[in-house]
Symmetry: C2
Subunit: 301 residues, 2 copies
């Protein structure tokens, strides 16, 4: 699992910082999360192949999280994309995208599917044999969802020495990997745990931006491997959190602690600050394992 | 009069090139012409003060000419802009902008006026005491206008030696500058041309993008000082012009020649070409005074 930060600053794009967008690579899928203005250029800059992006998850319809979507959709068409594209986001995202395409006399060269969200409860929005994605309802000034990406538990790993010592035919391997015990021709049963190792532990990633401090999300993200949580403000500016419905770095750290997350990645910094280091320092007073997102940074977990 | 090219490449924004947007400074007004994705970042990069932009002219609703508009409008609000903003563009531009603002639960901190266009005839869209802007109907795949920016003829320049030799009181200066002859106390009439010099010749700028080769625009832009004309293709690719409704550099030069323009600035290059120099070479076979637009280039005329 790796995470490429294309942009992680709040409000307005600038020459040196980009609004929210990131790519999560999980089980060979590339999931695009949020799509602020300029995302397509950031994708090019970081050499992420457009053709590998088939699912785009939009948290909410503030400009710094989705004004780059229509440009990306259009560019995919100009490049004659053929693969289906799925867009998940708040109700309204389809209407505004189709209106823009209509006004430009354009259509897509590929099937474009919208999965519009309006539920206030967590729901599964994507599932295949390896990954499941569900929403994390967040509290912000407009309807907003974070997203929880979870790998499914894979097959058990074959203990090759053990199966060969028992002269087990290769035709049984898949059955054993899926967890079955092995019954030999003489009736002896070899328990599965003698023939396999535990599968690689499935990983999980929670994207929580934008939101006010909200402990109700903790149950949804409990024990998550990596929590990306917004931290728009430093503690000295905490008074802005309530009005803008954003968080401080310390509040993000409290959520990480309550949820028993393994790693916390901070982002969505207000552009008022000259340096982002103080975000880490403040969060570390609450939670040890803190990383700072920054544009272009790639995390491997 | 000066012209800052923020972006002048066709189709999709890339790491090194930007879609169409430019700023024309004329008589101390800054006119923003087209607004592709990333325009607000280009404005920052070229240190153009947001507060000086009060009028935005959009040629057509293809993404590479207007997907940056909503971001700019939003950023102006986030920066608590107070000045009115006027947006000129094809019918539909108001609906899509307001829908985007509505979906983000946003409103502008300033008055935002839309001047929607649907006429196929040239019309005046802006006029003050120094400048007049009219549309140049263009032929493209969707409803498109170029824009003609014309300075008005200013006051005549006072010949200070002459007025002082005649002992003319300063209270008559404004009347003389506006073109009146001077009647002295003894009844003598001094003709205006003895007391003044011609005013600075008013300048004009025509923005013509995107369009197929179309000689009907020539009467609208005759004798223009600077013609910016799209040249998406080189001659070897002329076969794409009809389908895409674009021009070659040579066709742009023909329009400049027919219109008796003083300068031709080429732009809107297809991103298929490694170098833009051949555009100049090809245009120069038809019209001498050719310049190449390029992102970040500033022309003074």
């Amino acid at each position: 699992m790796n995470l490429t930060i294309l942009g992680c600053y709040a409000a307005t794009p600038r020459t040196i910082t980009n609004p929210t967008s990131q790519v999560l690579e999980m089980k060979n899928q590339m999931f695009l999360i949020d799509c602020g203005e300029g995302t397509q250029v950031q994708l090019r800059k970081h050499k992420i192949k457009f053709s590998r992006i088939n699912h785009v998850f939009i948290s909410h319809l503030h400009g710094d999280h989705f004004y780059g979507l229509i440009g990306l959709i259009s560019t995919f068409s100009l490049l004659s994309r053929q693969n289906d594209l799925h867009v998940y986001g708040p109700k309204g995202i389809k209407e505004v995208t189709l209106l823009q395409l209509k006004l430009s006399g354009s259509w897509t060269s590929y099937n474009l599917y919208f999965h519009e969200l309006d539920s206030k409860e967590s729901q599964i929005v994507f599932e295949d044999d390896k990954v499941v994605v569900s929403t994390i309802p967040l509290k912000h000034r407009v309807y907003t969802n974070g997203y929880l990406f979870q790998e499914k538990t894979g097959d058990r790993k074959l203990n090759l020495n053990a199966v060969m010592n028992h002269n087990i035919d290769t035709c049984y391997y898949n059955k054993i990997k899926s967890g079955s015990d092995m019954t030999m021709e003489d009736g002896t049963v070899i328990p599965n745990e003698e023939l396999t190792f535990d599968p690689i532990a499935p990983k999980s990633y929670a994207f929580c931006s934008d939101t006010v401090y909200d402990e109700t999300i903790v149950t949804l993200i409990r024990d998550v491997d990596v929590l990306y949580h917004e931290s728009t403000f430093l503690e000295a500016d905490e008074q802005y959190c309530e009005m803008t419905m954003h968080c401080t770095a310390k509040q993000a750290a409290k959520i990480a602690l309550l949820a028993n997350a393994k790693h916390l990645v901070l982002g969505h910094y207000s552009t008022r600050y000259g340096s982002i280091e103080p975000f880490k320092e403040e969060a570390k007073t609450v939670f040890e394992n803190v990383e700072l997102a920054d544009d272009g940074k790639v995390f491997e977990f």
